[in-house]
């Protein structure tokens, strides 16, 4: 099947998310759509999948112009999508999820579950997926959930498969397996659209690469191009992909965590007997697949978790049991993993957001009233210093791009006298330019002698920033290893294996 997108334009208000994008995808080919977050890749695919209607342009399958009014039409035409955030119902079984919307029924609309289970088994066997049709989706690992998404598309006889940022939630091993699956599907004659911003993956599987920037196609690239070439095409200027980081100048052990255990209200343990130390001027990076206790660990350091056992000592004084405010006063800076819910107040101005962690007393508050002049001066300075691109300090935080929002958070946290910096997913959903900048700032903090804990689900980021790497799996420390540990070893550790000799 041949898929042609011709001159697709999609506007949201004044924002042009897709500007006359054209694309051709053939059967038996993996076509990569490369672009930064916010470049308009997902919008384009949602247009193709019928979730959005294009303002201009047309979609053609095998020479026939299509008019999709909803995903149902797209599916009927043979387009299947593996969504970035899986479109699976957590409390349903695999078979129920696969048949939903496409149910075979018997008497009076009663479900033929048996047929659906057979279908799952059959597809699962054909591609070697190893998926149990009766498992409840919320109980199976993320990698398997993704296969359920693929089965869902295949069970509807999809000829064009769209993978929207499929590797974001996978371990390196699962990513390799997914690449293998994509090659198999290609071998079976499917047309595959692979959306990503990860250069390594593109070069590994792509037959064709289309680069999108700011809603426009900037050109096609050769799969044999180097990382640097692809990156500069994606960003529009030469980019430094490596973090420049001098040898560390490590001081005493500043943060000592011992036997830290965190559980939630339901009694599930998320952090299990974790112990580690960070020296002054050292970056400890935490690697691990999302959901292995990283969030709870960082929140426990900030005093945001309710059920914490063990000890967290910063410069000799105990933090467990202190209120968040006391912990902040002890000099802990925190870049939360979700800036829009935990890092910023969207409806506040840049200036107001700048003082969120300094709302008690000097310099911005005196006798219960705000000292706006001091605040505005401070905010304007930091805006320049941290390269936050905004019309002014009165701009609302919600109006900034992801990268600028994140720089605002970084500015606020790093502009205090810190004794510890906790950075959770510091560059998630941030453009390459801002990533460069934020990394530099974190390294600058380290060089100034601040101990830093970085949590990231991007292995590249972990390796780039770390002086030492701690791998978490199911809430436990698999090991703490040097930053030059090979990626394969780290990948293995992220699945809970402990390669002998690798663990310090």
């Amino acid at each position: 099947m041949q898929l042609v997108l011709r001159g697709i334009t999609k506007r949201f208000g004044t924002l042009v998310a897709n500007d006359r994008i054209s694309l051709t995808v053939e059967s038996g080919e993996i076509h990569c759509l490369l672009g930064e977050n916010g470049a308009g890749k997902s919008t384009l695919m949602n247009v193709l999948y019928g979730l959005y209607q294009a303002d201009e342009g047309e979609i053609e399958l095998d020479g026939v112009v299509q008019h999709f009014t909803g995903p149902g039409d797209a599916m009927a035409a043979g387009i299947g999508m593996v969504h970035q955030h899986f479109m699976l119902i957590p409390v349903f079984t695999v078979a129920e999820n696969v048949m939903l919307g496409n149910e075979s029924t018997g008497f009076a609309g009663s479900l033929d579950t048996q047929a659906a289970r057979e279908r799952v088994r059959e597809i699962s066997e054909r591609f070697g997926f190893d998926v149990n049709p009766d498992a409840v989706v919320e109980d199976i690992p993320v990698g398997v959930q993704q296969r359920v998404e693929i089965i869902k598309a295949l069970s509807r006889d999809a000829e064009v498969l769209i993978f929207d940022e499929p590797t974001a939630v996978l371990t390196p091993q699962e990513t390799d397996e997914l690449m293998e699956i994509m090659r198999q599907l290609k071998g079976a004659g499917k047309a595959i659209v692979f959306i990503t911003h990860k250069l390594r993956e593109v070069r590994e599987v792509a037959d064709k690469i289309t680069v999108i920037r700011l809603g426009k196609v900037v050109g096609e690239a050769d799969p044999k191009s180097s990382n640097a070439e692809l990156a500069s095409m994606m960003v529009g200027r030469p980019v430094e992909l490596t973090v420049h980081k001098g040898p560390g100048n490590f001081g005493d052990e500043a943060l000592v965590v011992e036997g830290l255990t965190v559980h939630d209200d339901l009694g599930r343990v998320h952090v299990d007997d974790v112990s580690f130390t960070i020296r002054r001027g050292e970056i400890l990076a935490v690697a691990g697949v999302q959901g292995n206790g990283q969030t709870e660990l960082t929140e426990a350091l900030l005093g945001l978790q309710a059920h914490v056992r063990g000890s967290i000592r910063l410069d000799g004084s105990e933090l467990v049991g202190r209120s968040v405010r006391r912990i902040l006063e002890a000099g802990v800076g925190f870049i939360p993993e979700d800036r829009t819910t935990d890092g910023l107040v969207g409806g506040f101005t840049i200036a107001e957001n700048m003082m969120l962690n300094r709302s008690h007393g000097e310099p911005f508050v005196s006798h219960g009233s705000l000292r706006l002049d001091e605040l505005h001066e401070f905010a304007s300075d930091k805006l320049k210093e941290y390269d936050v691109r905004a019309p002014g300090i009165a701009t609302l935080a919600s109006q900034l791009s992801g990268g600028n929002q994140q720089k605002l958070v970084v500015a606020r946290e790093l502009s205090r006298d810190l004794r510890l910096l906790v950075a959770a997913q510091p560059t998630r959903g941030v453009d390459v330019g801002s990533i460069e900048f934020i990394h530099k700032q974190i390294v600058a903090g380290r060089d100034a002698g601040v101990p830093v804990l970085v949590v990231s689900s991007e292995l590249d980021e972990v390796v780039a920033l770390a002086d030492r790497i701690m791998v978490l799996y199911r809430g436990r420390v698999v090991g703490v290893v040097p930053s030059d540990t090979p990626r394969e070893v780290l990948g293995l550790m992220m699945t809970g294996e402990r390669p002998e000799g690798a663990v310090a």
């Binding site: 979730l51 995903p71 048949m99 919307g101 029924t105 339901l266 009694g267 343990v269 000799g501 690798a502």
Partner: protein, 427 residues
Amino acid sequence: MSTDVSMPIEQTPIAGVTTIVDRKPAVIFGLATAGLALILLFAGVSDDTTFRLATPDDWAELPAVTVPAAPTAWLLVLICALCTAVSVSLLLKERRTPMVLVVVFAISWMIGFLTWAAAGASIPMVGLLAGSLALAVPLVFGALGGVLGERAGVVNIAIDGQLLAGAFAAAVVGSMTGVTWFGLVAAMAAGMLVALLLGLFAISYFVDQVIVGVVLNVLIIGLTSFMFSQVLAPNAESLNNPPRFDKIDIPVLGGIPLIGPILFRQTAVVYILYVVVALVTWALYRTRWGLRVRAVGEHPQAADTVGIKVNRTRYRTIILAGAIAGMGGAFYTLVSVPQFNREMTGGAGYIALAAVIFGKWDPIRATLAALLFGFASNLQGVLSVIGSPVPSQFMLMLPYVVTIFAVAGLVGRSRAPAADGVPYIKG
């Protein structure tokens, strides 16, 4: 560094689930047992209590059971105490109190209480239970409507309004036509109309569902009260004099001792109820329609991506739910009382809502919960008739106390449909 020798972390004790066992059953058992024991200590009784189990038309007449009140009650307190002890020891071993124990405890406690409360008199058990069912019928209809709506992701606070509108429509149409079935159909239509309004605001205009529901209730109370005083009262003979459904004694089944007179000597509406409970349960879990309803209530976006029209599904479901709740309303005017009265549901819709939650959004469990509430209401009536020592004001509180304990205490954690109460906005 070698990577070929490795130790899977699974071989070490893994992080996982430490069950935090709910303390509530043990505590409630203890308090309830102590309460009953205190009553017996300070308001002791010496008479006998008689439980009457038979009605005239049974196949075989069960004898009336007469027991000495005090020793029997104390024996049951002892059983309750045993249950409590088991529950506490399970708690200490970090295990849950099984449902069986809860049931044994509840029944023992209830019989112990009845023995004391009815000392020196006799309790008509058949009347007590059959009356409970009668009081529970509107609650069950309402709860089923509630379960359906919430499973599709629409919180329906307006159950009470649907019951009241149903009662009103049934009374008026029933009186005008003289046919009970027309009254029933009118009640369903009225319930659907309320559901349509709820859908319009909650689904199409994204208004907060709780607020819409409350406003609808107030609206229906106002409307029906106005119509009652201005239209129905002056023309009571022609507009508020509905015919009533007769009791149908099902042959054979109706003659089973104890059970027959309770379940199978009822009106057609109650038989419809049995069918509706079964149908809703089957449809929700075993049909394509049910799968889709549950899907839009759990993850509407996922449903949308497989081509299910989310809002259309929600509309259909709540309108059907409205029809069911409306039938519950008809029960008031076509079965219980022979005319419509101002605010005659007395907040039953809210109790039905409690039954939805107590029943964990499951039709069968919600039905059982509604039956429990019906029992609590009827107990109050029966005990005041036979002249129990409990002050009537306290007895009037009983259904509501049971509701609070049930919902807050014994339910434990229950999980509502994930998208319950959240309007679906595309994109």
